[in-house]
Structures are given as C-alpha cells and as structure tokens.
C-alpha cells in the first residue's frame, strides 16, 4: 500500500481517539496513528511488552535497546509512563482498561468477527496478544486494505480463516471506506475519494447498509 494511502487511513483512525483514552496500537499502519494525534491531546499509549505511556521515536543515536515497542522498534516515554512485566501488561487488557485497540486484519465479518493470526498451511505467525486485545478492548478498530492481493473482499459475510475473536470489531477503516459494525449490520458511513459508494459495494462481499448521509474523505 502506498505511503500516502497508509497515512490517510491512519489519519482517519486518529479521529477516533479522544482526550484521556488508553490506546494500544498494533504493528503496521496502526503504528502510524500516533503521528496524527494532536500534540496537546492527553492519550496514554499502551504497549503489551510492558509500558504504559509510550512517546515518539527517539532521535537517531539516542535509541535504548531496552526500550522498545511490541514491534521491536525503539521508543521514548511520556511523563507519567510506567513499566511492568507481561502478566501485568495483559492483566490491564483482560480487565478492560484499554479503551481502543487498533490492529490489522486478514478478514473481518459483517458481525465483527476478526481473523488475523493464521492462514492454515501457509502463514502461521501466531496470535501474539491479538486475542486478548480484540476480545477485551472497549473499542476495536481494524485498519486494512479493502481487498486482498487477489482483489477479493476482506470484508465477508462469514470469515473463512480461523478467528482471533468473535463479534469484536467495532469499526473498519480501509483504503476505500469507513464501516461501522452495528446491531443492525455493517453500515457504510464514509468513502475515501476517489472511490464511490458503488465501488465499495462492488468490492465488499458482506451485506452493507448504506448510511443516510455517507460522507466522502477527500
């Protein structure tokens, strides 16, 4: 995915984050979301390898190998940050202290089922901390390409891959659209220019309800 498209998705996701929230960002596009948070907004970023209150990347030459995010890249911390072991890191997640988790996906169903840890027989990275985050965060936002490399919809009526968590995703942001999982079904709320509502419908296998006032992100 092109850098500007990745940043556009990240920028849209950043709008979901408000003052005072505790947020966990996954690897890939989700990591970029932090760059789009207003400087004066007080948000605590949680990294499951044991830190609450991660800050921006350090200046070159100032990296500390003992201070990294869950993706293994050097970070800094903000005022009021804390370190803890992995049991505590996941205790926070399991107990429901994470307001928003933003992660990638292989497939999402219209009911919010998430598949992002295994393609049996092909790619088996493991679930890492995704099961806890998807199942326990108050709000789960998925950032991903709308279609896979074969051009097939990644947003399905039912996931074909083994699940990470059932009925867990709240919002899907792709290179084409923003969709919300509601009790009435999957609702198309925004499209990313130059795509149109018709483009999104054509590229989505899941049933889509079209919001009365779909807006366009330029």
């Amino acid at each position: 995915m092109a850098v500007d498209v990745r940043n556009r998705i990240a920028k849209r996701a950043a709008k979901e984050i408000h003052d005072g929230l505790i947020v966990n960002l996954g690897i890939g596009i989700p990591t970029l979301v932090a760059d789009h948070i207003p400087q004066d907004m007080h948000v605590l970023f949680h990294a499951e390898n044991g830190v609450l209150g991660t800050g921006p990347s350090p200046e070159p030459g100032k990296e500390d190998p003992a201070l990294c995010n869950a993706g293994g890249f050097p970070i800094t911390t903000v005022m009021g940050a804390s370190y803890f072991d992995s049991a505590t890191a996941f205790g926070m997640i399991r107990k429901g202290y994470i307001d928003i988790t933003i992660l990638g996906a292989l497939e999402v169903s219209e009911k919010g089922d998430l598949a992002n840890w295994i393609v049996p027989g092909k790619r088996v990275p493991g679930m890492g901390g995704a099961m806890e985050l998807a199942q326990k965060a108050k709000k789960v936002i998925v950032l991903m390409n709308h279609v896979n490399k074969q051009g097939e919809s990644k947003i399905l009526k039912t996931c074909t891959l083994p699940l990470t968590a059932r009925e867990s995703v709240d919002l899907i942001i792709t290179d084409m659209a923003v969709m919300e999982v509601t009790e009435e079904g999957l609702v198309l709320k925004e499209v990313m220019a130059p795509y149109t509502v018709d483009d999104v419908i054509r590229n989505t296998e899941a049933s889509l309800k079209i919001h009365a006032a779909v807006s366009t992100i330029e």
């Binding site: 390898n49 890191a89 059932r166």
Partner: protein
C-alpha cells in the same frame, strides 16, 4: 533474635551455568522479540552444541536475534510461544515437520508461566473461547460464565536477562527488557540469570527488586548483545 542470612554466593562462570542445560531439556526464556533474552547464554548453548530443546517463551525472536538463533540453528524440537511471525525460520521448520509449535495467546502464556512459578496448577481464562485456541481444553463455569482451563507451565531450566543482580541473586530489570523475565525466573526448577551488573549483597534497594533471589540459582555476567537489532 538471631539473624539468619544466606551468604551463598550465586555468581558463577558461564561454563558452570551451562552444565545445567542438556540435550532434550525444557528451557524457558525471557524476552520479547529478543529484547530481554540473555545473549551470552544463548551463545553458550549454541557453542556447546546443546540440542533437542523444548523452548517456552513469548516468541521465537528474529532469525539472528534472541532465542531465534537457537531456532535457526535447529536446536529446538518444540516451541511453546504466542508468536513466531518475526522469525521465518520457525515457520519454515514447522511446515517441514522439524519443529513442533504450540501456540498460546500472549496474556494466557504469561499467566500460565506465572502459575507454574507460584505453585498453581493452572488458570481459568475466557480469552480464545469461540476460536481454535479452545480446542482440547477443559471448560469450567464460574458464576454463570464460561472459562477455559489453561494449565501451568514450568521448565527444567529458566534463563533470564536482568540489568542488575547482587550475589544472592536478587534481580532488577531494565524498562521493556523486563517483559516475561520475572515470570520465567519463577517457573524454572533451576534458574540462571545473565546480568549487566553484579553488586554485593545489600547494595540493591529492596523496594526495587523484581525477582527475589530465592528464585535464582546462578548469576553470570553478560558479555553483551552480539547481534544487530532489526532497527539498526
């Protein structure tokens, strides 16, 4: 009252420490993507040719980082971890049938190790219900809510990396290099700590000790990280 102080000095050489790790042993390790995995002990295991290991830890590092180096060198027959994606060699060996991999969700894995370290038989967790992670596991209903019974994990030997140790084996960790280390330190029947700095007993602030020395059998000084990090 008479004061009893254990004066046993736990500081040893790497060679003495490695005598406790043998072919086929179950080895638990600290670290997250190699951060907090003891580099000198990993190198020692490689150099000594120790093989057929069952490894238990968060992930399989990167191909040439952390415990990943043992996986890459095909010294493991089995791995229990939450993630192997950053080390393609692990996936390749698994596909070829040369490495058995058992996945556990990361938080569940941490608690299973902690359980093993604090004398519990297992834990009840609802994470993974409704997914293939529940396969083969017993379920229990507590106050109307369903949980999976996740068994405790222990190891014959645990290896951890800490910032400081005193001669009694009390350990202090360093930022995110802590991760699984304090849990792993407790769960080993025999625990070896590799540390950046060794101080005399009494010099560490008792308030700052994350792993009490009772859990640590041996301490060795580190020779430092001998791999390049992914970001370098």
């Amino acid at each position: 009252m008479k004061q009893v102080i254990t004066k046993k000095n736990k500081i040893v050489t790497m060679e003495e420490a490695l005598e406790h790790i043998s072919d086929g042993c179950t080895l638990m390790y600290g670290g997250f993507g190699g951060v907090g995995t003891p580099p000198t002990l990993v190198q020692g295991i490689l150099d000594k040719g120790i093989k057929e290991l069952t490894l238990i830890g968060n992930d399989t590092g990167f191909p040439d980082i952390g415990i990943g180096r043992l996986v890459t060198a095909e010294r493991a027959k089995k791995v229990i971890a939450s993630h192997i994606g950053s080390n393609p060699n692990a996936g390749k060996l698994m596909t070829e049938g040369k490495l058995q991999v058992e996945f556990s969700p990361q938080g569940t894995l941490a608690e299973r190790i902690r359980a093993g370290g604090v004398g519990l038989g297992g834990i009840f967790v609802d994470v993974g219900i409704g997914t293939i992670a529940e396969e083969g596991k017993d379920k229990i209903v507590i106050e109307g809510k369903e949980y999976l019974v996740e068994t405790a994990l222990t190891a014959e030997v645990s290896i951890v990396h800490a910032k400081k140790a005193d001669s009694l084996g009390n350990l202090v960790y360093d930022k995110t290099a802590c991760n699984f280390n304090p849990l792993v330190a407790m769960a080993g029947a025999f625990t070896i700590a590799e540390v950046e700095e060794i101080v005399p007993a009494g010099e560490l602030d008792p308030e700052c000790i994350a792993t009490p020395g009772i859990y640590v059998d041996m301490v060795i000084p580190t020779k430092g990280v001998n791999w390049k990090w992914a970001w370098q």
